[in-house]
Amino acid sequence: MNVEITGLTRRFGRTMAVAAVDLQAGPGVFGLLGPNGAGKTSLLRVMATAIPPTSGRLRLLGRDPRGSGPRREIRRRLGYLPQNLGYYRGFTVAEFVEYFALLKEMPSARIPLAVAAAVDRVGLADQSRARLRTLSGGMLRRVGIAQAIVNEPELLLLDEPTAGLDPEQRMTFRALLRDLGQHATIVVSTHLVEDVGAACARVALMDRGKIIFHGTPGDLTARGEGHGTGDAPLERGYSAVLAAARP
């Protein structure tokens, strides 16, 4: 298992963002669903080693990130796209991706090819010399994905990756996810259930810091039969699970 989480809790002051979460994920695409404020981003930030857990056990890629050495090893094999992508306006697309390749301590000799490949995979090869300040929101999102995958990560954490993408780009992105998921563990946090249905092999649903469902998209769809509200079967399953979990 590339992700092993046991009883993980994360507090921000009095707010319990993640409450005693247990989760395991191996290679493949794992969807993390949930309404706004459910704790998806906090859980992803803990998994990205951006913030430490308040309590609980976390192992990533078979290592405990509490030690600086293992944490560094994890980070070399990690890709992360935060919900709000910050970027340096003067950098070109290629420079921004190269910057992160360098920060991820990729072997120097591999960087030029890896950057070109990552930029190409997100469909920005023609804009590789464009400055980030000239790009649209959707293009910036793709730059964010490119920096996340430049090191061919074994663990890829994507927070709302399809936000701002048009339908065509979204479909292509799902295909990219499926492709990457053949070798790596990909955790996709989203509130768009169709992304989960199209790309994820397994899915967890979070609400108020807790995981209230864990299974396949088919399982989630099944939970919605005859219950819940929504236009699509998966959406009905989503709303049914949420409704059942709430008092």
């Binding site: 992360y80 072997p107 960087i111």
Partner: protein
């Protein structure tokens, strides 16, 4: 987006940290705020410093000593501001999470950004130094560049950059950079306000290039070797400060590995130790007799020996010889003294040569400093008259015309007085003869002319108040006094008669054995 297979992972390629660091630095160099601030820094230097420095006489010591504080003040604010801006970049651009979860330790990443900022600052600074030194090399008649002041200013840039960067990193805000910009200027500009005498810890400030009370000594590097004692302490302080700030920044930004934290603690401690030691050393500095700050622990006694040089001399009745660094002043000086020298040339006891000497300094209580000639103006066999050019003396800069005027009004009378034995306690006859010779040379200081006498053509302006025993004006015979009347009579004699009388009676006159009535 295209779904293409990623290149298959090949055999592990050994990472070369040096190459990766160079690539990171290259990226940071391309996208650094200091790149945009370089024209501002250079323009500030041009407006506030370059013209001021170039207005000083073309002596390496003056140009270098002017360069150091002015360059520091011109560059500090833009560099500190740019560094603070870059230090706050991750927070301003909301990339903190994104970059913090990368494998490369945060201090290394920050160090690359700081290094790029500092590199551009140094490039801009070095361009300015190159211009100042290139022009000086063309104008200077002797000597070579003094590098220590330039090194001190250069060492101040990484320190200022590190402080600004640390402020930007630790207090990331849009307001940090402008505030740091303003603070950098005021801290440096006010850092000298507490200097009291030559034994002050505050001399460690990089805007101090010479004894603060008297300013740069033109004799450094011309008569005596430049003493790098204070610059060594300043460079030590600035390097220590830079290292300490960067070490502390590493600690405060959460250095990951224990070894890195230990290294950061050691580096911070070493930096603080070096900076503290340098401050302590600066506190032991004292003004030496050559007008430089000597720090006993750093002082090289060999550098107290005078420099060897071949003087440049005029072809006047008595040769006027100057240090070759002052060669450009020789024609004006010789012309100013020639009429006076014509009056005494060949007389018994008259100087065989007028030779420029170095100023000697003495620290008084508090901020007071005494300066002047080391010995008697006229000494040696054959006698040599030692002069101090006004341009050598501390005080406001003088033009060539002002310098020539002061030479005529101060040095001319002094040379004649040294021949007649005139001075405090001299006889009325000595006063009268000295004044008469000045009248004959048409070089009477204006304070010795009767009130209402037009000054053009037959006199020189009265001497300005110059401190020190060797710059005091000649007193002479007061207008309206019997001695003054005797002087007028003696001056009215034909030149040959005057000379003949002087040849016969100069020894008696100098011994004070002649009275006014014995003058022709």
């Amino acid at each position: 987006m295209t779904v293409t297979r990623a290149p298959a992972r090949s055999a592990p390629v050994t990472s070369r940290p040096g190459l990766a660091a160079a690539r990171l630095l290259r990226l940071e160099l391309r996208h650094n705020a200091m790149l945009w601030m370089m024209p501002v820094a250079v323009a500030l230097f041009w407006v506030t410093a370059e013209r001021k420095i170039m207005a000083t006489p073309p002596l390496w010591s003056l140009r270098a000593a002017g360069l150091q504080p002015d360059a520091v003040l011109a560059f500090a604010s833009p560099v500190a501001g740019a560094a603070a801006w870059m230090g706050s970049r991750e927070s301003r651009r909301r990339t903190t999470d994104l970059v913090n979860i990368t494998a490369r330790p945060r201090p290394v990443r920050l160090l690359a950004t700081w290094a790029a900022t500092t590199c551009w600052a140094l490039v801009a600074y070095l361009v300015c130094v190159a211009v100042v030194y290139a022009v000086t090399a063309q104008q200077a008649t002797w000597g070579g560049p003094l590098w220590w002041p330039a090194v001190v200013a250069a060492a101040s840039l990484p320190a200022v950059s590190a402080l600004g960067f640390a402020a930007g990193t630790l207090v990331p805000s849009r307001f940090t950079a402008p505030l740091v910009t303003i603070a950098a200027f005021f801290v440096l500009a006010l850092s000298t306000q507490l200097i009291n005498g030559s034994q002050s810890y505050w001399q460690i400030s990089p805007v101090v290039a010479a004894p603060w009370d008297i300013g740069p000594d033109p004799g450094a590097g011309t008569f005596y070797p430049y003493q790098p004692d204070l610059p060594i302490a300043q460079v030590m302080f600035l390097t220590g400060l830079t290292v300490a700030v960067l070490g502390a920044l590493t600690l405060s930004t959460g250095a990951g590995a224990r070894s890195l934290r230990r290294s950061a603690v050691a580096v911070t401690a070493a930096g603080l130790l070096a900076a503290g030691t340098a401050v302590a050393l600066a506190g032991t500095g004292r003004l030496d007799r050559h007008g430089m700050i000597a720090i006993p622990a750093l002082h090289d006694a060999a550098s107290d020996r005078p420099l060897r040089y071949t003087p440049v001399c005029s072809h006047t009745a008595i040769p006027v010889c100057l240090n070759p660094a002052y060669a450009s002043y020789l024609p004006a000086t010789a012309a100013a003294l020639a009429p006076t020298l014509d009056q005494i040339a060949g007389l018994p006891g008259a100087p065989a040569r007028i030779s420029q000497a170095a100023v000697t300094y003495r620290q008084g209580p508090g901020n007071s400093v005494g300066f002047g000639l080391a010995g008697l103006p006229l000494s040696g066999v054959p006698p040599v008259f030692h002069l101090l050019l006004p341009v050598e003396l501390p005080g406001p800069a003088v033009t060539t015309t002002e310098q020539a005027s002061q030479v005529r009004s101060i040095i001319g009378p002094s040379i004649i007085a040294s021949v007649t034995g005139d001075g405090p306690g001299a006889s009325q006859a000595q006063h009268a003869v000295t004044t008469a010779l000045l009248m004959a040379a048409r070089a009477v200081p204006s304070h010795l002319l009767p009130p209402g006498t037009p000054t053009a053509g037959n006199s020189v302006p009265g001497p300005p108040p110059v401190a020190g025993t060797d710059g005091e004006p000649y007193v002479g015979a007061a207008p309206g006094s019997p001695a003054y009347a005797a002087a007028q009579r003696f001056a009215a004699l034909p030149a040959a008669a005057r000379r003949g009388w002087l040849v016969r009676h100069l020894a008696a006159l100098r011994a004070g054995r002649l009275s006014l009535g014995q003058l022709p």
